[in-house]
């Protein structure tokens, strides 16, 4: 570990903190339907879209209408993206010799990008045409992020409103999020990435002669425009197979910092938006504080573990002095230009958020580091999370926390002025249980059937971690891969698509149900029986609830994977 490494991490956390309030204020204006500085430019376009689609912006929806609109939109989106991938050979901008995508892979990819997961069972540069990348992957990165934020905003309205039968209009939230939030930031970010050397071209791959005289094909394309939304959306699906480890996606340490900020900026800002919309801003800072504690612990431990190197290699006589990479820490699978700190930070950000972009190979991290990356996803990615899903995941844990606190200390179960009754708790538990059910159930099946075992790249606990990571990542809509698992088979394409489907829709439906139930309630004034939810005690309690719920649910699986592998590495066994 170095002082520079810690400084890098500290600067990143400080910048996220600085961006949270201005971004939060802007989000509040956008979703409150207020005028923003972009209104003169975007307003006419927004109104034209409403007219063309026959949407009345003032007409609000009940939670069930909102959920049906959400489901209908995503069903059509999956079919549209599937058709695009299947027909890419016949469409413009297809590279010579690039076939259409197979049905199972096209379904997996369509579900993946529409659900904001971006799990990729394929290598982008050798599988998708430029049109598929731009009109398919990039467009759905925008829409899936905007729909996730829309759900979070609807959930916030549930807490903020009193005696309302409606929670907003899905089509309006989707449109305003795309036009006023995602597009402007991505335009600026794409130009900054281009300035740093990220390509943005429709030219075919370049062919170069190497110093040794052989020919090399260098893939390129409209990378910068996809890269910006890949990070901002919490989507994470790279143009290239190596994702943000590829020098054309993430060429410099400065772009690395920019990418990290893009991943966290909106998720963190939504906590401030929550505080502003319900009243006391402190409530938002409390949630961000919980996220910061969990994030800080994770990144510190990962950095320490990776900086110490692999003990099984260090014990080999002379290796530490002969191998400069091991003397710098566990550099296997990491880029020299980012180093240990830049890689550890990116990995923790990527899994704590729902983004899933990678600048190093998670498969090569030390076993306990891999366990933390898994843990970040297993707690529903509430540590900032994707734009939208991180906040509503955290609010679900708040509901559980105040309910448990009420049971333990005899306080009235209420949160930010809303009474938490049995209906809300049932919906919350439903939302929190479907993800582990999908993750652990499908992992168990994959571990005992031949098609599941056929994809493994490693034996023993590491192989188990590969399978567990795949289903955890997809059910949590993260999309990062552990590597080592060949998931491009009908078995994995279909079961992983199922995990993504359940992880997105079977969580969001009860979330919207809770929003509708809360919006219909009055606001209860604070009394002596009210548990303060903007104090340090509640922060500590909420951290405990998140860790314990995640730990109790997944500890047996973690024990079979990264924990047992850790002890085997200490004993000199490597996988």
């Amino acid at each position: 570990m170095t002082a520079l490494g810690w400084l890098q991490i500290a600067i990143f956390i400080a910048l996220v903190g600085l961006l949270t309030r201005p971004f939060g204020g802007y989000l509040t204006r956008v979703y409150g339907g207020q005028r923003t500085f972009l209104q003169p430019v975007i307003g006419p376009l927004e109104n034209t879209l409403y007219r063309l689609a026959g949407i009345r912006p003032q007409a609000e929806q009940s939670w069930l209408q909102y959920a049906v609109a959400f489901l209908l939109f995503h069903a059509l989106a999956i079919l549209a993206l599937y058709a695009l991938l299947r027909l890419q050979l016949m469409l413009p901008l297809s590279s010579p010799g690039l076939p259409s995508v197979s049905p199972d892979l096209a379904l997996n990819t369509a579900v993946s990008f529409v659900t904001n997961t971006s799990w990729q069972s394929y290598a982008g540069e050798t599988t998708l045409s430029y049109l598929s990348q731009m009109a398919g992957i990039t467009v759905h990165s925008f829409l899936s992020a905007a729909s996730g934020i829309a759900v979070a905003i609807a959930f916030i309205r549930g807490f903020a409103r009193r005696r309302f039968a409606t929670i907003g209009n899905f089509w309006v939230d989707l449109t305003r999020g795309t036009l006023y939030v995602l597009l402007p930031i991505c335009v600026v970010a794409a130009f900054l990435l281009i300035a740093q050397g990220v390509p943005q071209t429709l030219s075919a791959s370049a062919v170069a002669t190497t110093l040794e005289g052989s020919m090399q094909t260098i893939a390129r394309g409209p990378v910068a425009s996809q890269e910006a939304i890949k990070l901002l959306s919490g989507d994470g699906g790279g143009f290239f197979n190596a994702n943000s480890a590829h020098p054309f996606e993430n060429p410099t340490p400065l772009t690395n910092l920019m990418e990290l900020l893009l991943i966290f900026a909106l998720g963190a800002a939504l906590t401030n938006c929550f505080g502003r919309m319900i009243g006391p801003e402190r409530q938002g800072w409390t949630l961000l504080g919980v996220m910061a504690i969990l994030f800080g612990l994770g990144v510190a431990v990962i950095y320490a573990l990776e900086a110490n190197g692999n003990p099984a290699l260090a014990n080999l006589e002379g290796l530490r002095t002969l191998n400069p990479q091991q003397s710098a820490g566990n550099m296997e699978g990491k880029e020299i230009r980012f180093g240990i700190a830049g890689s550890a930070l990116f990995a923790d950000v990527s899994t704590a958020s729902s983004d899933g972009a990678v600048n190093s190979m998670h498969d090569s991290f030390m076993p306990l580091s891999g366990g933390i990356l898994l843990g970040n996803m297993m707690v529903d990615e509430v540590i900032v999370g994707a734009p939208g899903s991180g906040l509503f995941g955290m609010l679900l844990f708040c509901v559980v926390a105040v309910f448990l606190a009420g049971l333990m200390i005899g306080r009235t179960p209420e949160y930010v002025g809303k009474k938490i009754g049995s209906s809300e708790v049932k919906m919350t538990i439903l939302a929190l249980l479907v993800v582990p059910l999908a993750t652990l159930g499908l992992t168990a099946i994959a571990c005992v059937v031949e098609p599941g075992l056929a994809g493994l790249g490693n034996a023993g606990p590491h192989g188990f971690s590969e399978i567990l990571y795949a289903y955890t990542s997809t059910a949590a809509t993260n999309g990062s891969a552990f590597a080592g698992l060949n998931a491009n088979s009908p078995f994995y394409n279909l079961t992983l698509a199922l995990a993504m489907f359940v992880g997105r829709f079977f969580v969001i439906v009860p979330v919207l149900a809770v929003a509708g139930s809360l919006a219909a309630q009055p606001i209860i004034p604070r009394s002596n029986g009210t548990l303060p939810t903007d104090r340090a005690l509640f922060v500590a309690f909420l951290v405990g609830v998140i860790v314990i719920v995640g730990g109790l649910t997944y500890l047996p699986a973690l024990a079979l994977g990264p924990i047992v592998e850790h002890f085997q590495v200490l004993g000199g066994t490597l996988y």
Binding site: L64, A75, I78, A106, G421, M427, F506, V509, A513
Partner: protein, 38 residues
């Protein structure tokens, strides 16, 4: 043929999700008995 199966799978999955939403709605509107909280 594979495309037809995929189309059917997508329709079935979203039909299940819509049914799930309707079940959640019923669960929310069902009377839950006397409220004994403070």
């Amino acid at each position: 043929m594979a495309d037809v199966i995929v189309l059917a799978l997508v329709v079935i999955c979203f039909a299940v999700a819509a049914g799930y939403a309707a079940a959640c709605d019923r669960l929310l509107t069902r009377p839950v008995g006397k409220d004994v909280s403070l």
